[in-house]
């Protein structure tokens, strides 16, 4: 019988799963918090040396450990903190040897071979070499990047947060998004405990900005793409891992501080040349290393604080907008908008403290406790940089507490145990100073108001106010057992999370006008979400079990196979669906699942081809399951009938006050319903990488990877009429009765609804996907301690159908062509996170003749993020109530020729509807330099003077005008009597592509001092 295709797949699956079952005990030999250095001491002909004396030293902390080799010449040091180590080996009759710069990475063993040369006594010198075994470098193609001391402390930094390290990776974006996924999908792990910071549902691309994780706390960081160990779970993106520093062997205090500001006159940015705003940026901190009991109990405590002030240019056209507002405003209201004409200052103020206690209970048992606390305040635009409208005057206040502890024990030579526990608490409060209520509770704030002809907004943004918090309890128990060539590992993990959302998008009202004059002549529209509850409490439990076998097949060849099972407990039981809607439509006729089961299998092959570490091939494939976005649950739990919409078109009359209920009546409840068989995001990755040592300290890495993530949440409006009311002159289906009001287009409230007693009814379906194909090439070169260079380039292509994922809120934005079939889905195209080219370069240089002087720098080049040519805000080109999802048709008319000359994407799409994310601006370059001079040394201490020259190459960043077409207010909507098409009056926007709100950071110098004693 010839097996069918499905049968063959089943056989392959059975083989793979069967293999996993066979090796189900397979575990890595180490816990993820610590590393191992093991190896052998040999004579010059390769025979093992028995009873050789081996001393291992932590190059950072000066801690030392000693061993003697066994009869096979082998030695082993375990429970090592991540960092760089030196190994000293000696025995009678041989020249002692020091092998330096042996890297220890969490969860990974470094294998060291030490060859001793026979020497007749007396021995007067020590042979010193740099470690050359294994892949020592920063890059593991396909797997990720390691950030060590140079990256954390040596290179010029943009800010003090752990997040900033991702700038040094060519596979991640500046918000820790990995492999074309948003930063919110990246798991953040600190000393083995996952950190869940509270996130704004509409600013989810910001992964975890927090002051609680300052650089001072860390000794090492990883950015893992294809984590091979099945212990890694709960995130479908990558993992950003931080390892806290341990105390030095002696008391030590380090302080630092730096400053920059306008008084230095160092600001050369074109944007800021005329900016009179004074600003001061200063950062400070101190860390104390306290050995309570030498070599046994050690404490590190520290704090950091900073106040970052960054002047921003005034938005394009803001001064003119303010003048136009004065013409129509009541003079008493004018002060509300004065800052439109002023340069503004983004400010971030933060304080943090941390402590870590390490206690070596015995030679084979180590325990550690740490706590990180932080408070951060951001004001004036920084907090809402994910928004497309350039809103300002919003402050964000956040507080984070993260504490964890672990106990690791090597019970025997081949058995070990690890126990971890963690707790976290996080709050984020977004508020607008403009949101106020009078004594009667009536909102007196200025609602979000967008002026289409300017592309700018004023008032309180629709994303504020918001109050978000969460708390987390986590725990893990794992153990390993080494049998023969197999290292088996098993464990259980649990996370229990509670989230609290107090947020209602558009709750303070949204006005759209052509310009200020339109506020008085009836050419605008209004929408507001009213009622409640404003969000919901969400409880999630995530429980997992993992099994793994690390099989040393032969010398140099290691295969790791593992599988992980997770169960995610959902708050489905708390759902209270809207019965009226259910009776009308039969939805929801499938209730969400109370729990989600996930199976994640991984395989990894590490092949040291030559056995000497010169050529290493590493390949891996794995499945990574994330958790459902809790903001999705909050939305479906809270928007089941109590939240209603009200809308108005035309004469609104009372701006900047809110229209009354007769002008803007209720148009029905807003509902959100989770799609059937909801799933948490799941990523499959395949990676292949080769590392080739070209010289003693020169490595060339190359690799490629493929990632596909499924079950991404997408949004569509169930209550949009299933039948178009017509088509425009470009063939775009229209819904409802479309009105032109000034330079805006909007549907008559209710006319585009399937059921007119309801407003928008969102289905949140977990049916989206994202794919990335990438190639990484990296070069690392070092020369003694004088020269250290790394360069990493990634070319990637990221596609998805996750439209609006970058700033559209949970589920993104609905399709502008909702009746297209799956095979012709306009949303399926270039991802919002697609950045084809990324290059990062780091250089650390010491002048040999002047050892106290060190020059370092980082350079980052990357493609700009893509965008879709569309319409001005407030133009709902297809009448579906959503203004940010419409793609423009690129008309082949003379008025567009200038834009076509400037923008290739316009030129290539003449006569077509613009493809999703078909345009992008020029590649950006950013270069930062640091000059450090150590002018005094006291023992191990010293004082460093640091001068940073930031943004030597300054990228042009900012919110661009993505409106290709504007509405011609001189013409009305007409129906062509011959074709029946609705002719919408469009004109070409000559400002297309220009930066509306500049975000360029400006070029500046920063002076700092660092002292150790």
């Amino acid at each position: 019988m010839i097996p069918t295709l499905s049968t063959r797949w089943a056989v392959v699956g059975a083989v793979v799963l069967g293999f996993c079952a066979f090796s189900s005990g397979g575990l890595a030999a180490q816990n993820m918090q610590n590393g191992v250095i093991e190896g052998v001491v040999l004579d010059q002909v390769g025979d093992p040396i028995f009873d050789a004396f081996v001393v291992l030293s932590d190059q950072e902390s000066s801690f030392t450990w000693t061993r003697r080799t066994d009869r096979t010449g082998r030695f082993r040091f375990s429970l090592l903190a991540p960092g760089n180590y030196s190994l000293f080996a000696e025995t009678l009759g041989f020249m002692p040897k020091v092998t330096s710069n042996i890297p220890v990475l969490g969860g990974i063993a470094a294998d060291v071979e030490v060859y001793l040369a026979p020497t007749a006594p007396p021995v007067v010198r020590v042979d010193t070499v740099s470690f050359a075994g294994g892949v020592r470098g920063r890059t593991r193609p396909g797997l990720g990047q390691w950030f060590g001391r140079p990256e954390i402390r040596g290179f010029p930094d943009r800010n003090r947060q752990l997040l900033d390290l991702t700038r040094l990776s060519s596979t991640a974006d500046e918000l820790a998004g990995v492999d074309g996924l948003p930063g919110s999908m990246t798991g953040v792990v600190v000393d083995g405990a996952t950190l869940f910071t509270a996130r704004h549902p509409y600013l989810s691309a910001d992964a975890f900005r927090t002051s609680a994780l300052p650089r001072s706390f860390f000794s090492q960081g990883f950015l893992l793409r294809n984590a091979r160990d099945t212990e890694w779970g709960g995130a479908a993106g990558g993992f950003l891992v931080g390892q806290g520093r341990r105390a030095a062997s002696r008391s030590e205090v380090e302080i630092f501080g730096d400053w920059t500001g306008s008084a230095m006159g160092a600001w050369t940015s074109e944007y800021l040349a005329d900016n009179p705003e004074s600003h001061n940026t200063y950062r400070f901190g101190a860390t104390a290393s306290i050995p309570i009991t030498s070599d046994t109990t050690n404490l590190v405590i520290g704090f950091e604080g900073w106040n970052l002030e960054l002047p921003r240019s005034t938005p394009l056209g803001a001064a003119e907008l303010y003048q136009d507002l004065l013409d129509v405003l009541d003079p008493a209201d004018a002060p509300r908008f004065e800052d439109l004409q002023e340069a503004r200052l983004d400010r971030q103020t933060a304080y943090s403290g941390f402590a870590r206690l390490d206690w070596a209970i015995g030679p084979t048992t180590l325990t550690s406790l740490r706590i990180n606390v932080g408070e951060i305040t951001e004001a004036s635009g920084v907090a809402l940089r994910g928004s497309t409208q350039g809103w300002d005057r919003v402050t964000m206040e956040g507080r984070d507490v993260s504490a964890s502890g672990f106990l690791v024990s090597e019970i025997s030579a081949n058995t070990g145990l690890e126990i971890r526990a963690g707790f976290g608490s996080s709050t984020r409060d977004f508020s607008s100073g403009d949101v106020e209520r009078n004594e009667d509770g009536v909102q007196t704030t200025t609602p979000a108001t967008t002026f289409a002809s300017y592309g700018l907004g004023v008032g309180s943004p629709p994303t504020a106010p918001a109050s978000l918090s969460n708390s987390t309890f986590s725990g893990l128990v794992s153990g390993y057992y080494i049998i023969g060539n197999h290292s088996l590992k098993a464990g259980l993990a649990a996370d229990y999370l509670t989230h609290d959302f107090d947020f209602l998008f558009g709750g303070t009202g949204q006005y759209f006008f052509t310009d200020p004059a339109a506020t008085t002549n009836g050419e605008g529209w209004f929408a507001q979400a009213v009622g409640g509850p404003r969000g919901s409490a969400v409880t999630q439990g995530h429980y997992g079990a993992f099994l793994q076998d690390t099989w040393k097949v032969s010398d140099g060849l290691t295969v790791t196979l593992g599988t992980r099972y997770d169960y995610e407990q959902t708050p489905a039981d708390e759902l209270d669906p809207n019965l009226e809607w259910g009776v009308l439509t039969g939805t929801p006729n499938t209730f969400p699942q109370p729990g989600l089961t996930k199976l994640s299998s991984r395989v990894n092959v590490y092949w040291d081809v030559s056995g000497s570490g010169r050529t290493v091939v590493e390949a891996g494939a794995g499945v990574f399951s994330g958790m459902m976005d809790p903001s999705l649950w909050s939305e479906v739990l809270s928007q089941n009938g109590g939240v209603e919409a009200r809308r108005a078109v035309g004469d609104l009359g009372v701006w900047p006050s809110l229209p009354d209920s007769s002008t803007a009546p209720i148009t029905g409840p807003q509902l959100s319903i989770l799609g059937p068989e909801e799933r948490a995001p799941r990523t499959s990755r395949v990676t292949l990488g080769i590392s080739q040592r070209l010289a003693a300290a020169t490595w060339l890495h190359a690799g490629g990877s493929f990632r596909r993530t499924n079950f991404l949440p997408r949004r569509n409006d169930l209550n949009l009429s299933p039948f178009a009311s017509g088509v425009d002159q470009f063939g775009r289906p229209l819904y409802g009765e479309l009105n032109r009001v000034g330079e805006l287009l909007v549907a008559t409230p209710g006319s585009n609804r399937r059921f007119r007693d309801f407003d928008q009814v969102w289905a949140l379906n977990t049916d989206g996907y994202s794919e990335t194909r990438s190639v990484v090439v990296a070069l690392e070169q070092g020369y003694r301690d004088w020269f250290d260079l790394f360069a990493e380039y990634t070319y990637s292509e990221t596609t998805d159908d996750w439209f609006g994922a970058r700033d559209g809120g949970p589920g993104g934005l609905p399709s502008p062509f909702p009746q297209q079939g799956e095979s012709d889905d306009w949303r399926d195209g270039v991802s919002d996170f697609d950045v084809p080219h990324r290059l990062t370069v780091g250089l650390d240089l010491v002048v040999p003749q002047l050892r106290s002087l060190r020059l370092s720098g980082t350079y980052r080049m990357q493609s700009a993020y893509p965008f879709t040519p569309g319409f001005a805000p407030g133009v709902d080109a297809n009448g579906d109530y959503v203004t940010r999802n419409d793609a423009a048709f690129v008309p082949d008319v003379p008025a567009i020729f200038d834009l076509a000359d400037e923008w290739e994407c316009i030129r290539d799409q003449l006569g077509q509807t613009a493809a999703r994310n078909s345009c992008r601006a020029e590649i950006t370059h950013a270069l930062d330099l640091r000059l450090m001079y150590t002018f005094s040394r006291v023992g191990r201490g010293g004082v460093d003077l640091i001068v940073d020259w930031m943004n030597v190459l300054e990228p042009e960043l900012g919110l661009r005008d993505t409106a290709l077409l504007s509405v011609d207010s001189a013409r009305d909507i007409v129906v062509d009597p011959e074709t029946g098409e609705t002719v919408l009056p469009f004109t070409v926007n000559p400002r297309f592509g220009q930066v509306l709100v500049g975000r360029s950071p400006g070029t500046f110098f920063r002076f700092g001092v660092r002292a150790r004693f």
């Binding site: 009776v583 009308l584 059937p676 079950f711 009429s721 299933p722 059921f755 949140l764």
Partner: protein
């Protein structure tokens, strides 16, 4: 131990397993929530003889009429069908939502329109069978619209009764709309009283130079025009020209009109009265019991209320016809008042 082929084997295993891992991805189509529910809508198409909008006594079903189901707010015909011999239609398995029902009016007579359909849309819920009857009848117009229509149009006119068809026993009737009044002729008798909301089915006509409704059937209904049935006080001169025709058929009142002449026309008593502004013919219909048969010259109508009707000769002259003894208050020459 050092057997590189093991590495080849492992990589091969990896390559084999990698597509398996990827291929394990389920089709995400099951994750899509869509409205699959369907419902039904049916009803009867009928000739709405009384303009009530609902099938009731005297209405007749219409067979062979094409009915279309149209998505609300669009011109998309979702389904269509032909009524059976009972005038019934039914659309089954219709996607739930909001729709309009539409008749192919080209199959109706020129004068007919669909009247029995609620102006509201039809909301079809899941598994529901919505009943919507479609009446076909004449258009319902206001008094003002009826007066402006060309002659011969069958219509319904709604208004408030000023004088019922039994008042003058000549099959005429007077109704008032928002602003104007209308007289019907050849009106089927019915017990209607001033202030009754009434719907007249008839055909526009012209009589004595003024628009009227002819061949009229009356239907009482409630909730009609809320208007004041009280008369408008005019001088005799203004009443004689019905305020330049604007008050044709309307209810008017004169005061202090002195009888200057009297005569009879077809047994009706006509008194020419003048309040000093000009003469007006006041007609005491023989079929109305005024309590007296004539009024001598010199008598004074201290007050006289009635409907204004064009004079028979067709000139632009109107007569005032009181409807009952309560409409007049007359003072004999040198005597006391009585009505």
């Amino acid at each position: 131990m050092n057997r590189p082929w093991n590495g080849v084997l492992a990589v091969t295993l990896l390559v084999l397993s990698a597509p398996f891992l990827v291929a394990c991805e389920e089709d995400a189509g099951d994750q899509v929530l869509a409205i699959e529910a369907r419902g039904a809508v049916g009803g009867v198409v009928f000739f709405d003889a009384n303009g009530s909008g609902t099938p009731d006594g005297g209405d007749t079903p219409l067979a062979g009429v094409e009915v279309e189901l149209v998505a609300a707010g669009t011109s998309t015909v979702v389904d269509d069908g032909i009524t059976d011999t009972e005038g019934q239609f039914l659309f089954e398995s219709v996607p739930v939502g909001t729709f309009d029902l539409r008749l192919d009016e080209s199959e109706l007579g020129d004068t007919l329109v669909v009247v029995g359909l609620d102006s509201a849309h039809v909301v079809i819920p899941m598994d529901g069978e919505i009943q919507r009857d479609l009446g076909v009848s004449y258009p319902t117009v206001t008094v003002e619209e009826a007066r402006a229509l060309p002659v011969g149009m069958p219509v319904f006119v709604e208004g408030i009764t000023l004088a019922g068809p039994d008042v003058f026993n000549d099959n005429t009737m007077h109704i008032r709309g928002e602003e104007l009044a209308l007289r019907s002729i050849r009106t089927l008798r019915a017990a209607l009283f001033p202030g009754d909301s009434v719907r007249l089915r008839g055909r526009t006509a012209n009589f004595a130079g003024q628009p009227v409704l002819s061949d009229v059937t009356t239907f009482l209904f409630s909730g009609g025009i809320i208007t004041d049935p009280r008369p408008t006080t005019l001088s005799t001169e203004e009443a004689a020209v019905a305020l330049d025709g604007l008050m044709d058929a309307d209810l008017a009142r004169i005061e202090a009109g002195v009888v200057t002449d009297t005569f009879s026309v077809e047994d009706d008593f006509v008194a020419v009265v003048d309040d000093g502004s000009g003469p007006l013919e006041l007609v005491l219909d023989r079929d109305v019991d005024f309590g007296f048969g004539s009024v001598p010259p010199g008598a004074t109508f201290r007050r006289a209320t009635g409907v204004l009707v064009p004079a028979p000769e067709g000139s632009s002259v109107w007569q005032l016809k009181p409807r009952s003894r309560f409409d007049i208050d007359v003072i004999p020459p040198g005597g006391v008042s009585g009505s």
